[in-house]
Symmetry: C2
């Protein structure tokens, strides 16, 4: 029997490549997505397709209402910035930062892990492109593991180590795309845009589209997505 | 201007006394409750009354669907144990343990804290009556604080310490009740039962009712609640 791993899936390039890596390491895939009132809820549909592609043993979508809490362009009525220069995208904590988002996501993953008996959680955080997000750094992830061990039955009673895998943490977008392609990921399944059109097309102009397009360009591969601004 | 504190409120004796303590320490109260498909959703109604009693500046209820994850008598279709002996209640991790529950709750509190600019979170965990819950121990709370500092903008950019207050951690139920009464808490507002009747009466027989009744008995005070089995 394979070991079980929970993979946090947003339907984007990073989490999909992360899922491919977990699969290639021999884990059974348990995919977990979140509906948090994000603008880009098209990602949820993608999450299901992707889970199927990797023959996931489980796939759940958790509804959480971060809208009640507010405070980010991704969940609030703040405008998603468009056509920003790369140095602006990479500088400081972006407006699209959702407070404690990864902490919330990992907490649900931890609960599910305890139920199904998984000791491995994969998250596609990346410290290169998302240097402004505090919860995308390895230091944070290690502190999370420690807390998880002390706060769960499996950690305390069964003395299990809970491992949070971050295989992309030091890769550039170009390297992530190449890694994904190498593992057979079909990137036409994935979705990255912060502000898609009503029919689900990527805008091509937000920070996330910018970084995605740049990654494909640098990888020397055509992005299979159709963009609204193409 | 007073400092802001987020108080996790379940509508029970512990969290209500915790709120009274935060209030007595001069904090403005921001009350946070969770609707997680628990059997005892009467606690949500109580949460609102209690927030009002303490003149909370904010009160939000977060919907989360732990039912999808399953795995506890409080959210699943497992029967709530009744009429257990005290030594059984206190031994090991109880069936009513919800995996990673405090981790999830604290994560939402952390997100809200970051939005409203609060650096203090109060949680009524108790290591005496709930010795079986890994996430009711100080060691876990300290690890959570560390993770919270490393994973948030306020921790990383503003170098703020995030304090998780656990004023009840080493008190017995008797002492908690006495403390609450001393601070003017009206315990008829509170609710503890794991398995209330349809009209919201406490069963008087589950572990939580047992510990509550014992606490009042030992405090030498009559519990103002009406029980189904009275």
């Amino acid at each position: 029997m394979n070991k079980k791993a929970i993979i946090l899936s947003s339907g984007g390039i990073d989490s999909t490549t992360t899922m491919a890596i977990a699969k290639s390491e021999g884990f059974d895939i348990y995919s977990m997505s979140f509906n948090y009132g994000q603008r880009h809820s098209v990602e949820l549909k993608k999450g299901g397709e992707i889970a199927k592609f990797f023959k996931a043993k489980g796939h759940i979508i958790i509804d959480i209402d971060l809208r009640n809490i507010g405070g980010s362009a991704l969940t609030d009525n703040i405008e998603v910035p468009k056509d920003r220069k790369e140095e602006d995208i990479l500088r400081g904590i972006p407006i699209t930062y959702v407070p404690a988002r990864n902490t919330i996501f990992l907490s649900f993953a931890l609960a599910w892990a305890e139920i199904i008996g998984a000791y491995d959680i994969f998250i596609g955080v990346n410290a290169v492109d998302y240097s402004g997000y505090p919860d995308c750094r390895l230091e944070y992830i290690r502190a999370y593991e420690k807390m998880a061990e002390l706060g769960t039955k499996m950690g305390v009673e069964e003395k299990r180590r809970i491992k949070i895998h971050t295989p992309l943490i030091s890769l550039t977008k170009k390297e992530i795309i190449r890694k994904g392609l190498e593992l057979g990921v079909d990137f036409s399944m994935t979705h990255s845009c912060y502000d898609p059109t009503d029919d689900g097309k990527a805008c091509g102009r937000c920070d996330s589209c910018y970084m995605r397009l740049k990654g494909f360009r640098e990888a020397g591969v055509k992005d299979p997505l159709v963009y609204a601004s193409n």
